[in-house]
Amino acid sequence: MNLLPTTWTGLLYLFATVCFILALRGLSSPRTARRGNLIGAFGALVAMVTVFLSTALDNVLLILIAIAVGAAIAVPVSHRVKMTAMPQLVALFNGVGGGAAALVALLELRSSSGFGALLAVAFTVLVGAVSFAGSGVTFAKLQEMMTTRPVLLPGQRWLMGASLAAALVLAALVLATGQTWLAAVLLVVGLVAGVLLVLPVGGADVPIAISLLNASTGLAVAASGFVLGNVLLLVGGTLVGASGTILTQAMAAAMGRSVTGILFGALKGGSTAGSTAVSDRPVRSSSAEDVAILLGYAGRVVVVPGYGLAVAQAQHTMAELASTLETRGTEVIYGIHPVAGRMPGHMNVLLAEANVPYEALEEMDQVNPKMKTADVALVVGANDVVNPAAETSPGSPIYGMPILKVSDAQQVVFLKRSMRPGFAGIENELLYEPKTTLLFGDAKESLTKVLAAVKNL
């Protein structure tokens, strides 16, 4: 429909732009994060209504059906997904967005001319396709549909080089001829490149790869905004591209990694060390009652929660155990590693749900100096974030990541189900150390037993 004059359309798009900026601002602070997200959604709604009111569109019914289909897929999935599976869902949504941007650019090519516009089209097609395919691979890795370890195809370097060269040649051809079929081939090359780019990324680094692909999709959307002459797409995409770049760096820094190292480290053959083989050296395992005695008579306990706490949904039991210990006079603090769990902030969210006071959660830098004065470090379903291999074995995939130094504590107690390693797939020497005690079993069950035993002390 053409109900809105051009100026009004522009103003409404500007309004949506401001909503997006305010959304990002809001999302940067815990207090305003949720409101920020809603402001962003409202801006998107206004923009979508505006486009229907202001543009002469055919096929409106089909379009609305397509929107309904998209929403009907996305909303229930988003509602039902488990906390732990959220990162792969974000990856999935990012990928489809990239795919959509690539398709839009492909179709716009026929009505584009001029160097700038053609360049933007080629860029969007390529980057959107990389993002689509790359996100697909990250999804498969996180969903454990494939190995989480770095995958190196034979001749991976040559394949990467070849697809890069092909992409450049095709992009140049698109610029020269403006042929849609060439852009379609470019899209396919982009898909291949996306897969090749993400395959060598080790499991623990996948979230960083997702964040990077997210930023790329933002830039692709910005470029398609340039092609369409649409300011909202331009600004929205650019905001995501710019903030996503910063965010990727911040996330990498929190894991002690560099972004280039993550993407190209495996190519250089650095991070393929480590082994999934479970050795059969002796370990010291004990009963819930023994652990209860250790904890009940400790002066200070540092709890290190990890992915297993989330899987077992043991946060409430953990909080109850902590408060029981505190009434007995034991000081309990939580040492939160920035990448414990499967997404940054995972532990904070989980423990907040169990009403653990914010002050009891301490970040890595705060808690590490206190480890020496802790009687017990209680590691609940965590593994990689306390693995000394990060400090001692240069070949290991987690080498260089800062860890929580639980081995500084007098005693270390691990609650886990088996001797299996964690996300990064490497063994933890700490499990075999004399000061370590293991309590095997699901975290929630183990904690329930320990809690009961502490109450009987």
């Binding site: 998107a44 990162p87 990012n94 959509a100 999709t217 910063i246 902030g345 970040e363």
Partner: protein, 95 residues
Amino acid sequence: MDGVALLTIFVLAVFVGFEVVSKVSSTLHTPLMSGANAIHGIILLGSVIVAGQADSTWVLVVALVAVVLATMNLVGGFVVTDRMLEMFKGRGGER
């Protein structure tokens, strides 16, 4: 709108994007990534325009695929971000 104006807008948006998130705490990395992810779902707007101006069947089909994908990005992105942030609510109320 001419190219230089669009470029100016682009450059300013880069600065806004950089500055706005430069002081975010690591706790919010995931929701922020997810929220930003939702924002680029606004490519839906572009998909709708292309679909609405399709001049042949194959263009329409491809564009409708783009609409479905972009809707998943936009709608799913905001919903999943909201679900993540719901978790923070309890704590906010307590304070």
